[in-house]
Subunit: 122 residues, 2 copies
DNA sequence: CAGTATCCTAAGGGATACTG
DNA sequence: CAGTATCCCTTAGGATACTG
């Protein structure tokens, strides 16, 4: 058996992950679905900048990739609820880290900008 | 002070992170630079599918966002080395998790496909 | 070696309108 | 309510060629 401790990351795996998560709003959707199922309209309210069409598309793709569940209630008016699957939940820590990093990055960028300004007004 | 334990993720932070890491090859580049600095040509060999122009662009953007360092050695022929900054290193755990997840996802997808086939030949 | 300079294509989304 | 159906447009990234 190959017991090489070397960490081998197959390019394919990053690429695969990116292909699934690459949509502009997918991570955000998953984040909103992390704890509760939400109706389509609730997601829309949370993300007003996203067009219905696009939101639907992204949800369909996430569903296809097994990250969200879609439950249709045969009522009038129709009700559709979206939830996160276990596979999506496995992604949450990643999301949180990404977010923390984004926060750090923001701080850093601001600090840099401030420093630059100070230098320019010198 | 606001001691609300509630986890607030500002949309902006995911979006910010995505805007920095969104390039098609950026995560992969960062991965290759995780341990050692590499020359431009070495990166090219590692990622033959990426055109020079694109590789250059992605590197420039990463540099601009403070994720990679670019060192030019005034030699003939020119030598340029790229390295990862501490900010990039803070991202490595995320990368690894993403990768692991990609691997899981692959397995799952294969399992699903196999199951489907079995059912169809029934 | 490590780039720029052009040109071009594909596709992910955006905007608006219509419907079961 | 929760979608489809169109049309359109930007832009990231690909292909090829040229240079300090």
């Amino acid at each position: 058996m190959n017991s090489k401790p070397e960490k081998i990351i197959f390019k394919g795996h990053i690429r695969l992950a990116l292909s699934v998560l690459g949509g502009k709003w997918k991570l955000e959707i998953l984040y909103y679905l992390r704890q509760a199922t939400l109706r389509f309209s609730e997601l829309q309210e949370l993300m007003p900048e996203v067009r219905q069409k696009v939101l639907t598309e992204q949800l369909r793709e996430l569903e296809h990739d097994g990250l969200v569940t879609r439950t249709v209630y045969a009522e009038v008016p129709p009700r559709v609820e979206y939830g996160a699957t276990p596979y999506a939940h496995a992604l949450l820590p990643v999301l949180e880290m990404l977010c923390d990093w984004g926060q750090e990055h923001e701080k850093r960028t601001e600090a840099l900008a401030a420093a630059k300004e100070a230098q320019e007004s010198r």
